[in-house]
């Protein structure tokens, strides 16, 4: 049975400050409307790019989106930040209304857009459970009948009559999630709840979500965590610039998404006249290619990275080294490697270097690369800073934990339980 049917859904937002001149614009809009003309502000059909290139102050957060979800399905919605995921969820949970299109919902909707909505710090845990439950659409009787279950799930029994302002943030989130998890809607909307709580609590949450689906309810799951999407969903949908670009089995959609992601940043090419560098050396190109046994063009913790650098040398008989630094997004240097010693002697002209970063070395996250051309193993000729940025994505064997591993590296060391 079809639970959600979305037809030609579009949502337009206005950028920038609302207020100055809006009365004038409102009157203008209204004037166009009564003359039966199309709203002058609505004709722009630019996609939601975040590169600041758009000229209009109106933007389509969603553009002509259609899909449907059946009973018992867990639909994963993925996409970059700003792809329109949140807008879609907000419209589905009736927080805001669409600009165009139509949605048919068959069943009650409950959303966990943000857990703990409406918690009041002065009220006790018990009072907040009732208040929050009521905000989410439960009646007092429903909450009373599930109260013990909710408290047990949250694990804050001891503090249930303490004002929540004295709770630790973990307790707060657990209690809030417990309330939300015990709603019994036909359609459940979940947005990034896995980002909170410890491993044990995450496991509980995922278990609860699976139960919900098994009971024949429908779940919409939005996450940046590709492994969670692959594990939990039976269908996935990829949004890009407010439109659906792919839908189908989670594994396929996730791969499609990952292979397209950040590809623009995986290489740079320069003409000699505007290449970075100086009179001694210039950068022609730098490129990155993930190497995998399965041949997929995706950059995950299980992909080796092949980095190729081409540079021009203008120094006669240069005794040269390249020194490559890899930095984490936060700016710490993860490692520094140099080319072979003794250093080779290079003629003037174009030269190439390659570096392979083995798979299962880097952790997930953003990294960037800088490199120097060094003369006589001691004198830097030029430092090419931040020439390449890339993101390593998650790829994990079945695990019930979906959090991020700490640390910059995640080497596959020989670590086993032997007895």
């Amino acid at each position: 049975m079809e639970r959600i049917n979305v037809e030609h859904l579009s949502k337009q937002y206005r950028l920038g400050q609302i207020g100055t001149g809006s009365l004038v614009q409102d009157l203008n809009r209204w004037w166009y409307k009564i003359r039966g003309k199309e709203d002058p502000t609505l004709v722009i059909t630019e996609a939601n790019d975040h590169d600041g290139s758009q000229r209009s102050e109106y933007v389509w957060a969603l553009h002509d989106v259609s899909f449907s979800v059946n009973e018992g399905e867990v639909l994963g919605i993925i996409g970059r930040n700003g792809a329109g995921k949140s807008s879609l969820l907000k419209i589905l949970s009736k927080v805001t209304s669409p600009t165009k299109g139509k949605i048919t919902l068959c069943g009650r909707v409950a959303s966990l857009l943000e857990v703990g909505t409406g918690f009041h710090p002065e009220l006790t845990g018990r009072e907040n459970v009732f208040l929050n439950g009521a905000i989410l659409g439960m009646t007092k009787r429903e909450i009373s009948s599930k109260f013990d279950e909710i408290v047990a799930f949250s694990g804050v029994e001891k503090y249930i009559d303490t004002p929540v302002k004295r709770y630790s943030s973990g307790m707060y989130v657990r209690l809030a999630f417990a309330v939300a998890a015990h709603l019994e809607p036909e359609i459940l909307i979940v947005d990034e709840v896995l980002a909170v709580g410890d491993a044990q609590f995450q496991r509980k949450c995922i278990g609860k979500m699976k139960d919900v689906a098994v009971e024949g309810r429908t779940v919409l799951f939005v996450s940046h965590n590709m492994e969670a999407v692959k594990n939990l969903c039976n269908r996935a949908l990829l949004l890009e610039h407010g439109s659906i670009v792919a839908q189908g089995s989670p594994a396929e959609v996730v791969d499609y998404y990952l292979s397209g992601r950040n590809k623009a940043d995986w290489g740079r090419n320069y003409e000699e006249k505007d290449a970075p560098g100086n009179a001694h050396t210039r950068l022609k190109s730098i490129s990155l290619e993930p190497v995998r046994e399965d041949g997929k063009q995706i950059l995950t913790v299980k992909s080796s990275l092949l980095i190729e650098i081409s540079f021009w040398n203008y120094v006669h008989d240069l005794v040269a080294n390249l020194s490559l630094h890899l930095y984490a997004a936060t700016g710490e240097c993860v490692f520094n490697v140099i080319t072979q010693l003794p250093a080779p002697k290079l003629a003037c002209g174009l030269h190439k270097a390659r570096c392979t970063i083995p798979k299962e070395l880097l952790n997930t996250g953003l990294y960037y690369i800088s490199f120097m051309v060094v003369k006589d193993t001691s004198q830097p000729l030029f430092n090419f800073e931040e020439v390449l940025t890339f993101e390593v994505l998650e790829e994990r064997e079945t695990s019930n934990w979906h959090g991020k591993f700490p640390g910059f590296v995640r080497p596959a060391l020989d670590f086993k339980i032997t007895e």
Binding site: I91, S93, K94, I103, C106, V109, L131
Partner: protein, 317 residues
């Protein structure tokens, strides 16, 4: 007197009918809701609902939420205060005292034979309810923006809870008012004679509530979009008090002013209230009918506009 009683019945009757109709609608829809547990519940989301599609019946399902909002307001407001709910009473008492000194003693405005302190305190108690509900309703969207941005529930639950918590506050104040009137009578500072219209106090309260909520809802849709209105409002309500016979009797105003004041829908409530409590002046049934029509019209308009804004305000705040 006989004719005004007739007018009264005429006023109450349609009102009762409306009540019955509302009840019927609510109860019928409630049954819809309970059958919703089976997946037969269908909802269609489109860009804009029709103007009168206000979905009032949804409120019935969320009635517990309204009660909990009221409870939250009380608990949260008076936690970590020493005097707690005594503030309910202290505020109008002190204001009445100041008015007594300024308007009663210094300006010596006549109070139609009622002891000035009682005159001001009665007026201020009910005025306080009106202005409280009005201003809070008008700020519904801006105060609750973060909550409204995350989860859906019928937004009217918030103004209704404001109405209810105001009512509880008013009841406490009325108790104190009764106590003070008895005290003044015992001390021989006033002689109060009761009359049958005392039983109409719930009607006055209801009218005041409808009017305050109606106006509040109307302005809430404006304050969301143009923030200037929230400044205008705080200021405007203060001015409105002087345009309502709170610190002076209507009879004090003469000529054109008298006529203008009569068009203020609050005038008949305040004047009749004083007649009911102190038997001073005359009873104005027609005025109440005018107020009732005005209040209902404002409320319907307010609900419709509120409902309109509710669907789009998240994109404008």
């Amino acid at each position: 007197m006989g004719s005004s009683v007739g007018e009264f019945i005429a006023f109450i009757l349609p009102n009762l009918k409306v009540n019955c109709w509302i009840k019927r609608t609510f109860v019928r829809k409630k049954q819809n809701f309970s059958s919703m547990d089976k997946p037969r519940y269908l909802e269609i989301i489109t860009p804009k609902r029709r103007w009168f599609d206000t979905r009032l019946w949804e409120l019935w399902h969320y009635r517990d939420l309204i009660v909990l909002f009221v409870k939250r307001d009380f608990v949260a407001q008076y936690k970590q205060t020493v005097l707690g709910p005594i503030w309910f009473v202290l505020q109008p008492l002190l204001t009445a005292l100041v008015f007594f000194i300024v308007f009663g003693k210094i300006a010596a405005i006549p109070t139609a034979g009622i002891h000035p302190f009682l005159f001001y305190f009665t007026g201020l108690t009910f005025w306080g309810y009106f202005s409280d509900v009005f201003l809070k309703c008008a700020n519904t969207f801006s105060v609750n923006a973060s909550l409204f941005g995350k989860v859906y529930f019928p937004r009217l639950a918030v103004p209704l809870s404001i109405l209810a918590s105001g009512l509880i506050k008013l009841l406490v104040q009325i108790m104190v008012l009764i106590g003070i009137i008895i005290g003044f009578n015992l001390a021989g500072m006033a002689t109060t004679t009761l009359n049958w219209t005392l039983t109409l106090i719930p009607v006055y309260t209801l009218l005041l509530a409808l009017l305050a909520m109606g106006l509040g809802l109307l302005f809430s849709s404006l304050t969301t979009k143009y923030r200037d209105f929230s400044f205008l409002l705080t200021f405007g309500v203060q001015l409105l008090m002087y345009a309502t016979p709170i610190i002076y009797p209507l009879s004090f105003a003469r000529g054109a002013m008298h006529e203008i004041l009569k068009w203020n829908p609050l005038t008949s409530i305040v004047e009749n209230l004083r007649y009911s409590v102190f038997s001073s002046g005359t009873f104005d049934g027609l005025g109440l009918v005018y107020t009732a029509v005005f209040a209902l019209f404002t409320l319907v308009l307010g609900v419709v506009f509120f409902n309109r804004v509710e669907q789009s305000f998240m994109d404008t705040v």
